[in-house]
């Protein structure tokens, strides 16, 4: 049996999907989280029959009117793949809008069961909904459920069985379909029809148009002047907790564990084990992967805090606060949702741009959203904040705000390049009610993200580290690199020419360049490669470092000033994110020209930013310019020149076209 889940955005489809299949698809307290259909199998303990039930989670849509072309996924799905039953999920707090879609679903000829979700909140608000009346009027079963509390799920699946193959007679039918005018007329009647049902079945204690506590909170957090500062303070708090207090505190224990593993493995390997294999295992695998896993607690604490924020409903308000600013550069508040998602991972962030209708806006967002620091970039941030800036929380917060600024600036440039002066697009967003975020949900979300992080560390990152270790151990003739002649290794040979171009940015050292380059595969590699090339396992506790690596402090090993370190960090964060994200960009941009443009833009952006930070910072701290200032200036000017050239060329072309 195949069941499709359909309903309005934010009604809880994915929550239900996860609850009945045991999946871990992402859920968020704002509309537009799911953008592609997901399939899963219903858990066996929910029903008795000996038959597999497949369930399909569809993206949310407000209506199925034939004139909203973009929101036809559900319709197409039902037409082309004929599910046996449709579960129509409704936010029980909003019957008058949701039931309109229900009446449309009922016309498709597939048996429908209505799941009245969020029943827990209905009870809280003392709204009285008569499900029998609803069921009678709609001519289909209506089951109250709470996806979040796992209530009513068994009955829901049971009902699906009962109505499978049965005919339902739609209570409201749209008679004329040929003429768009008539459809509109008929749909207006549809709303009236629904209003009548709601009036009969629902008794609200407080009508929805009265001011509530949620509106009061909105007036503060989405305030024209206070909105941004509040957002900044919240981000700072999140960072200081995850990066400077609780995170490192847990991390210390974990790193101690990894260190003892290192020592244990070292002692366990007898003299007979070849030194080559030994370094590969110890420095390449335990060292490299361990260096990244050491940051796991910091990242998990951060994910936990972000999940709390998402669950509370605050993130939807961030979109509202940012909307006027985004409008100035040709985007809108809608571009904020992909950016928020990208703080976890850029790939789903890039995918979520699908909900943006305007093509230029969609592409611009897909191209820029990965500038937000994602989970993989956090170890890099945490490492540099820890080593060079005494674990200061401002470093992380600054990187997020820099990310936002770069996106705003990028959008401005892209609009200029496209020479798009078309009207601003409109912005509308449903505001979910605030609620106390659930520690349990945030915990689950944190564990899932943590798992994904570890999985990546022991696969891609592990392989990358081994390759880096081998490239560092051998020369081109496949001879072992001799002590003191590290510059003859394959890795050094490949990286050195690139390192040359990095001199104006303050880090023209082949080891650092190699790390930045491996970072294009996956950002965690930056930390892994640094661990391998400098032979350090413990990045968290710099005091213990002396014991482990037998050398002076990491900062000394890197041979960087704080300013150069910041430049290096910025370079890593604002150049192309990783292969997987570029793949996602390729899929969403649907244009080779845009893809190549994006990669070039990101490379240029990282370079220019790092250059400015290093040179200006060095001048401010020492009164002199950093090395390679003029060569770098030349490169930067050429890059800016190219962009200006394209802008002028395009604007002249448009002017000619107009004439």
């Amino acid at each position: 049996m195949r069941i499709a889940l359909a309903g309005n955005p934010n009604s809880g489809k994915t929550t239900l999907f996860n609850a009945i299949t045991g999946s871990i698809e992402s859920v968020g307290n704002w509309p537009g989280v799911t953008v592609a259909r997901k399939e899963g199998e219903v858990k066996r303990n929910l029903y008795k029959k000996n038959e597999a039930i497949r369930i399909i989670d569809l993206p949310g849509t407000y209506s199925m009117s034939p004139f909203t072309l973009e929101e036809r996924i559900t319709r197409d799905f039902v037409r082309n793949e004929s599910p046996d039953v449709i579960i129509n999920i409704i936010d029980a707090n909003n019957l008058s809008r949701s039931l309109v879609y229900t009446t449309q679903l009922l016309e498709l000829g597939v048996p429908v069961v209505v799941a009245l979700n969020k029943w827990d909140t209905v009870k809280q608000k003392q709204t009285d909904i008569n499900t029998e009346t609803l069921s009678k009027q709609l001519n289909c079963p209506v089951i109250p459920i709470s996806a979040i509390q796992n209530q009513g799920l068994r009955i829901l699946i049971e009902t699906c069985y009962q109505i499978k193959g049965k005919k339902q007679i739609a209570p409201y039918r749209c008679m004329i379909v040929e003429n768009v005018e008539h459809v509109a007329e008929s749909d207006k009647k549809r709303f009236e029809f629904v209003s009548a049902i709601v009036t009969e079945a629902e008794k609200r204690k407080v009508t929805s148009d009265k001011q509530t506590i949620h509106d009061t909170i909105d007036r503060i957090v989405a305030n024209r002047y206070l909105g941004m500062p509040i957002f900044a303070i919240i981000l700072y708090a999140v960072f200081s907790i995850s990066q400077s207090t609780i995170g490192p505190w847990i991390a210390d224990y974990m790193v101690a564990g990894i260190d003892s593993l290192y020592v244990f493995a070292e002692s366990a390997m007898s003299e007979a084990v070849s030194p080559l294999l030994k370094t590969l295992l110890l420095d390449g695998i335990i060292g490299g992967v361990g260096a990244i896993v050491g940051f796991l607690p910091l990242i998990m604490v951060l994910f936990f805090m972000l999940a709390l924020l998402e669950d509370s409903g605050y993130m939807a308000r961030v979109a509202v606060v940012m909307d006027p600013i985004m409008k100035k550069v040709g985007l809108s508040g809608r571009s904020i949702i992909p950016m928020v998602i990208s703080t976890g991972c850029a790939i789903p962030g890039i995918m979520s741009t699908r909900t943006i209708k305007n093509e230029r806006e969609r592409r611009t967002t897909a191209m820029l959203t990965s500038f937000m620091p994602c989970g993989a970039k956090l170890p890099v941030i945490a490492l540099f904040a820890g080593v060079f800036f005494q674990e200061a929380a401002w470093v992380g917060t600054l990187m997020y705000f820099l990310g936002i600024l770069v996106i705003i600036f990028g959008a401005y440039v892209i609009r200029k390049i496209n020479n798009d002066t078309s009207k601003k697009s409109f912005f509308i967003m449903e505001l979910p009610e605030y609620r106390w975020p659930s520690v349990k949900r945030a915990f689950t979300s944190m564990i899932n993200q943590g798992k994904a992080f570890v999985t990546k560390a022991v696969t891609i990152i592990l392989i990358s580290n081994v390759v880096v270790q081998i490239m560092q151990t051998f020369t081109w003739q496949f001879q072992l690199v001799e002590e003191g002649l590290e510059a003859t290794s394959i890795l050094a040979n490949i990286s050195s020419p690139i390192a040359f171009a990095m001199i104006p940015l303050g880090f023209g050292i082949w080891q650092l360049t190699a790390a930045a380059v491996t970072g294009f595969i996956a950002k965690e590699n930056v930390v892994g490669t640094l661990a391998v090339v400098f032979g350090i396992t413990n990045f968290i506790n710099t005091e213990e470092l002396i014991l482990v690596s037998g050398s002076i402090e990491v900062a000394g090993i890197f041979g960087l000033t704080s300013v150069a370190a910041l430049a290096y960090l910025v370079f890593n964060l604002f150049t192309p994110p990783c292969f997987a994200a570029i793949g996602a960009m390729n899929a969403e941009l649907e244009s080779k020209k845009w893809l190549i443009g994006s990669i070039a833009f990101q490379l240029g952006m990282g370079y220019v930013l790092a250059y400015l930070i290093y040179q200006i910072g060095t001048f401010a701290t020492t009164g002199q310019l950093g090395s390679g200032a003029f060569a770098g200036l030349f490169t930067v000017l050429v890059l800016i020149g190219i962009v200006l050239l394209i802008i002028t060329k395009n604007s002249v072309e448009t002017t000619l076209k107009v004439q």
Binding site: S63, D209, A319, D323, F426
Partner: protein, 87 residues
């Protein structure tokens, strides 16, 4: 007397419908029309139950953003949209 109130009086004198930006907060208004050349905007609003004959309440004004209540749900809309909804 608030500006919105004056505006309302003025506009109704001239027989023009006013838009949501000039609404009084907390006052239930009936939508007269959606005036836009963008069919996408009209269709989207329609699917939310925002079209002539239905009701809308302005809940708060936050800078250039308007929070409104349409068919039992809260939405944040920008000035451009608020101006398109005539009441």
């Amino acid at each position: 007397m608030s500006k919105a109130f004056l505006m309302k009086g003025f506009q109704s004198l001239r027989g023009n419908p006013m838009d949501v930006t000039a609404c009084e907060i907390n006052e239930l208004m009936t939508i007269k029309s959606i005036e836009t050349i963008d069919p996408e905007m009209r269709d989207f609003l329609f699917s939310l139950g925002c079209f002539e004959g239905r009701t809308i309440t302005l809940i708060s004004i936050l800078g250039s953003t308007y929070i409104v209540n349409i068919s039992d749900a809260r939405y944040s809309i920008d000035a451009q949209l608020a101006q398109a909804i005539k009441v």
